[in-house]
Symmetry: C2
Subunit: 318 residues, 2 copies
């Protein structure tokens, strides 16, 4: 584990190559119906098609592969509301080491199942950051496992940066690249990859109003943690990490917020028009784009669809 | 409109080129989780990503483009439970002519909306073949429109044949190619394309038990229409067409049937593992494959996912 300042153009190239055997180079999809509605050209990077169904496979793979042999031998541990948990369990399984996973008791069943399928061991806790951290501390002490946090970690961020790297590597020249922001792993990685590969592309974060600590922190210039986040976008309940905040403050152009009704409408549009399954968190950037159409008029806009692990028995469509 | 016997390798190539400006060359997707479960290599041809969300865009485009100027001028008419209706409305709109569409009153709302969006005029009828045909006859007489049936028509079948043609054109060498069968437009087109492009590939139809007239007709060697079809696969309620039956009898290897529980389980697998939206009819071939795993062991199997126009408020997942 290095410093985030060591992440640069070359390290992202090397990271993409390091994790290549563990992840997909995901496709970009487009929809003429959505382009017409949005008044711009939208390119969707489909991380819902990624291994474990989310971009988190990238960061977890990188973090596990970069552990020293001595750090790795007792396994890894983390706390996560879901996708990072499955991603770390899978990365650990591929490295032949155990994974100890702290999950909030109210995490979607499909996400718990995924962790179990990959052989991860789940430890439930109350759905708040303090409970998660205490339970994790206990596990790390008990098993002497290496803690791989879900977003606030240079190797995780470096892994997530490979997603935007793939977009630019395909030769796309975007005016704007949008990603959802929860803990900020994806957005900070996206911002670094864009800074080094496409400095002319503005990186914009999108966040639910009910968990808008990134927006408020961005505006205030200091981290303001979220106390009682409440949004349908269950992947974005966490507060912005420290390193993530530093990177986002430096390299992100703006953060836009939307409410749950707008998120559900954008989610439905993606299901109906693109015929793909996404989780609510994914729909936040498109919702933000549609809410602020005039800012994007005629532009080429990339949107990272972060994952597709949704409980199909509880889709929010009426 | 010619004879189906005139459809051959060259005519399918020409058809693909004729309709190229109106349709997508759809992608093939794979899932390692599904391969593992099925015990074979499955290649999914994603017609749910096709224009109007279904393979029907192909046949409708071809039929409209092949009309003579005099036949075309008064517009087109058809009866359809949904996808053909939208496809014909769109093809007519692109050709600048009206489309008169007879739909059963119980057709999914999303399919009715699609017809309206493309500018088609809907005439509702009772949900049975006789009512459809009478209402259609009335409209054809009133408007002097050209009747483009949903499946029992050489130009429609020739259009649907371009779907399998794309698979073989990409160089895939399949042991088996599976398609769902309702009226038989897709299956007969698939059988013809395979016959001319990949004679070593066995073409297998898949059908719901609650609408199994194709299976029974195939076994009996004569058409046995379905009287009260009942299945969740709403795209497959129609009985096999005459021309379709002739082609299927000659070029299809087998037809397998599955019940609605098996269809829903396969549908869920596709949503959860592949993260794509399909309609129940699409899941029938995968359900048939999983029910008859031993027949497919170690093989390379293509499955045509026929469409993705599903009512999201009524998904059958519990």
């Amino acid at each position: 584990m290095g410093n985030w300042q060591d992440i640069d153009r070359q390290s992202i190239v090397e990271t993409r190559s390091r994790i290549d055997h563990m992840i997909h180079w995901t496709p970009m999809l487009r929809s003429s119906a959505i382009n017409k509605l949005a008044g711009c050209q939208v390119f969707f990077k489909c991380e819902n098609f990624q291994k474990v169904g989310a971009f988190k496979a990238r960061g977890a793979a990188n973090a596990v592969l970069k552990l020293s042999d001595s750090d790795r031998k007792n396994g890894v541990a983390t706390h996560s509301s879901g996708n990072h948990a499955a991603a770390l369990a899978r990365a650990a399984a591929e490295a032949g080491i155990p994974a100890y996973i702290v999950m909030p008791a109210n995490a979607p069943e499909i996400k718990k199942q995924a962790v179990k399928e990959y052989g991860g061991e789940i430890f439930e806790c109350a759905p708040n950051l303090q409970a998660r951290e205490e339970r994790l501390k206990e596990l790390v002490a008990r098993y002497k496992a290496a803690f791989i946090p879900p977003y606030d970690h240079p190797d995780v961020i470096e892994g997530q940066a490979t997603c935007a790297y793939e977009i630019f590597e395909e030769g796309l020249s975007l005016d704007v690249l949008m990603a959802p922001v929860g803990g900020g792993g994806l957005l900070s990685g996206t911002a670094l990859a864009s800074h080094y590969n496409a400095p002319g592309t503005a990186v914009i974060g999108a966040e639910p109003e009910g968990a808008d600590d990134a927006k408020r922190s961005f505006v205030a210039g200091k981290r303001i943690p979220m106390e009682s986040p409440d949004t349908i976008a269950d992947g974005l309940l966490t507060s912005l990490g420290l390193i993530n905040f530093e990177i986002i403050s430096k390299y992100v152009t703006d953060i836009l917020t939307v409410n749950d009704t707008e998120i559900i409408a954008a989610m439905r549009l993606i299901y109906e028009r693109m015929k793909i399954v996404i989780e609510p968190s994914c729909a936040v950037p498109l919702a933000a784009l549609l809410k602020n159409k005039s800012h994007f008029q005629g532009k080429e806009v990339g949107i990272i669809l972060s994952g597709g692990n949704v409980d199909l028995t509880r889709l929010p469509f009426k």
